[in-house]
Amino acid sequence: MQLEQTQTTSNETVLSIDSLHVEYSTPGSNVRAVRDVSLDVARGETHGIAGESGSGKSTLALAILQYLGDNGSITSGTVQFNGTDLQELSESELRSLRGNDIAHVAQDAKSSLNPSLSVGEQVAETIQAHQDVSRSEAHQQAIEMLREVDIPDPEYNADQYPHELSGGQQQRVLIAMALSCSPELLILDEPTTGLDVTTQSKIVELIQDLKDEYETTIVLITHNLEIIAQITDRVSIMYAGELMEQGDVYSIFDDPSNPYTQGLLAATPEIGSDKAPTAIPGQIPDLTDLDDGCTFADRCAFATEECRTGSIAMETVADDHETRCRRWEAAVEDPIQPKRGTYDRASAGGELLSATGLRKIFDEPSTVGTLFEDTSFERFFDLEPPVKAVNDVDITVRESETVGLVGESGSGKSTLGRTLLSLLEPTEGTVTFRGDDVGEFDSSEMREFYSECQIVFQNPHSSLNPRKTIGQIIERPLRMFTDADAEARTNRVVELLEQVDLGPEYVRRYPHELSGGEKQRVAIARAFAPNPSFIVLDEPVSALDVSVQANILDLLSDLRAEYGTTYLLISHDLSVISAICDRIMIMYLGEIVESGRRDDIFEPPYHPYTRALLSSIPNLDPHKESSPILLEGDVPSMRNTPNGCSFHTRCPQKIGSVCEESCPEVEPTGEGESSEHGIACHLDEDEMSTAIEGLHNDADG
């Protein structure tokens, strides 16, 4: 992987952007989405563009293709492709350039494919737009392209519609479409965002293979710095529409010379290190109303008065390394460092909540209940097997500990969290709280239970009622679960806001006036309102940018240190989990396949699935190469979970028929029964511990 990073780059410039400015006109104001961006990409280069959302990455990509919709336009600057000024091209010249010379893979594969055309036809359409071939030839070529991007059964899949494919496959189709006319330049906009890590590593692998095969120049946009570190040659860091830093990948990661870049790096969690992700305070400025001086000044630790005047120019740090900062020398001198050491911990006490043999099955055939529900006719006729979302799970959570629950999307994590809180009724099994069976609670005990156990949801935008003020939102649980009078409640609301670092002025604001991070703080304040002992945090940071993510993790850890609150932290992101959890459980298809203390999970022996997950997380250091274990296929449907070990259809270490026939129990590892580390796998411990030849996909292989 590393070897290729600089080899194929030549001196010939394919793309040259010079002081580009792009604006969107909106009613009443102009969004200055891209300002003064200059960028050269050489033939064969993979150029990474990173930055948090709203920094103008997608806009830049669309500006290259001269496609900014109805309200966007390039207000100054040039975009040259092989020496041609693209703004000079006519509509028909642009049409033959797009897809043929420059291809674009849009953010969000699902919405970027036409839902009512088969994917084969959509690929063939690109071919027909640029080549003089018959319909059937184009279709044949489309099938070949789908094969190239490792679509499992191209002939069959070509006739399928986008919704019939998984997210990873949809992304592959888009890539097939983009490469079908062998473009010179390929622009990929967040090609792995929203995909699980195991799928992500396969897409990254694919992009690299195809790049070599098609000798394409790539512009890769992503907010994921690890991917940037792993596969790009040169990097541009964008912030609020401007380029903050640019240079070759090693100089950016080894000697970041812009406070923003340093901040982003410090905020990115790294697995297997003692790094405590450190947030960048504040938020991206309003692009319709920009002050003089540095756009980053409000959030920058190095900012002085001089930063707030005039316009800040790019300065040269070294050969092929530029930064937009007046004080970069100070920043290089004493760079922002992430905190080290794990968060403050209270020590775990006795058992708080536990479940045994817990199952949650959806869609159980119930003819009467579904008779009048139009869309549920499959259920009406019992055509589909039920979804086993939680399948025989045992879990114990002790007082004041933080348990992480990890798994890919659709593995049943949220269902498990909700079933534990009695927000969903378990199909089988019991949940006990402080030793009492929750199923036996009468209504007042249940009320008590609901006030002791709270939940914070993934999407802060939808979990807060848009018509209520922040004050009302936080007050609600106080009303429901405490006897406090109006005055006491008001005081408590202010106090809670203060605890999540929001001022009393927020009481009267509405959710839409808040940023994503602020909303999540409000959701956390609401959860803490009735003084709960247990909180389920369901993907609390996955909708947030990495700079804000660290902030919320800090807050959660401060609160738990203060109140000794127990958390169940649900996430698909192992690095987030590793940053704050004491114990970790790995979930696959509704089952817990491995559980143990944090260090048990990150060190051998590994469950084969855990091993694959861990290997899939790319490394933030461009000198260290990642070698992901690429799992075959997609996660099977929960309606048809495999017999035996549920992982056997994808397991690289599968032993044989025993895996297909018998379902492994969770067995303690090491010194036997007392061990907290349990793995459900038929392999013996040695096999789960030693590195496996030929399993990792080697850089030169």
Partner: protein, 323 residues
């Protein structure tokens, strides 16, 4: 999609249809019983003596308990006997069927015109969004929808069938068998009245939907892979943008059945609408019951047709089976 899944779906929809019709029949029956006035008295006149009223009631089955009347009626429907009109003394079916045919011609004709005008104007508005063309189209449509049908109908008659331009006949209906020209010239004004009323809905729906599709990510993808504007319009925009219009058309078909009452009255067309008025005025219960049932049935079938068409055209709708 497996054939069987689709068949099951169809079976389910048809059973819903039967259930709906059953409910409608019960409601229709119940409300006609509640209607004030004794049918026998109405027929015989107020001066009739008690004995002849009783005799007629017995003959009409009105002396039976309501549930027996109901089951007799429903049972009759299954054997093709919807009863006898009290006033006309002919089988109800013989009265209704030719008028149904007339009304359907009006409705289908209108629907076709609405489809052509509504969709093309809607697409045009969407493509020329916020330009003068868009505003004019919206303005005209708005006027059309805000005038009630008796106003538009009367205005059209005054304008085109009377003192100003005497181009079209003001009333009546001529079957196609008497020649295409008289047929069409009688159709034009009533169809125009209904069209003015309904087009706005279709247009607005089409416009909104097309605009949304034009701004969708997949249209951008198509443009960015170098597909021409024209092809993007036909292949990507229209296909997805017009799907929901099908549902709106079906809904309008239902509303139209209601508007027919007024329009047929204005243009003196003997269709179902007028028949309803006639049956109510004359307390002709068997006739009324059956006409209302037929109108409800037409509505239900239109919706079923629309759903099936929608399902056929939209691959995201599956009828079950494997994901």
């Amino acid at each position: 999609m497996k054939i069987t899944d689709f068949h099951l779906y169809l079976l389910k929809r048809l059973s819903y249809l039967v259930l709906t019709m059953f409910l409608v029949s019960a409601i229709v029956f119940a409300s006609t019983i509640i209607l004030p006035g004794n049918a026998a008295v109405l027929i015989l006149g107020r001066s009739a003596d008690e004995n002849s009223v009783a005799a007629l009631e017995k003959k009409l089955g009105l002396d039976q308990p309501w549930y027996e009347q109901y089951f007799d009626w429903v049972g009759g429907l299954f054997t093709g006997d919807a009863g006898t009109s009290l006033v006309r003394q002919e089988p109800v079916i013989d009265i209704v069927v030719p008028r149904l045919f007339t009304s359907l011609q009006l409705a289908v004709f209108t629907l076709l015109v609405v489809m052509v005008i509504g969709i093309s104007a809607g697409v045009l508005s969407a493509l020329k969004r916020d330009t003068i063309v868009d505003r004019i189209i919206s303005g005209v449509a708005y006027v059309g929808v805000s005038l009630p049908e008796f106003v538009t109908g009367t205005l059209l008659i005054l304008l085109l069938a009377g003192p100003v331009f005497n181009v079209f006949p003001a009333s009546g209906f001529v079957p196609l068998s008497e020649g295409i020209v008289p047929y069409l010239s009688h159709m034009i004004l009533p169809v125009a009245t209904l069209t003015l009323l309904i087009t706005a809905y279709v247009l607005r729906q089409t416009r909104t939907e097309i605009i949304e599709v034009l701004q969708s990510d997949y249209v951008r993808t198509a443009r960015l892979k170098g597909v021409s504007r024209r092809r993007v319009l036909y292949k990507h925009v229209l296909r997805n943008g017009l799907l929901p219009t099908i549902t709106v058309l079906a809904l309008n078909f239902g509303w139209m059945m209601g508007s027919l009452v007024v329009v047929e009255e204005i243009f003196a067309i003997s269709g179902l609408g007028r028949l309803v008025v006639f049956a109510i005025q004359n307390r002709d219960l068997p006739l009324l019951q059956f006409v209302v049932l037929v109108i409800a049935g037409a509505y239900a079938f239109a919706n079923l047709g629309a759903d099936l068409l929608y399902g056929y055209l939209d691959p995201r709708i599956s009828y079950g089976g494997e994901e």
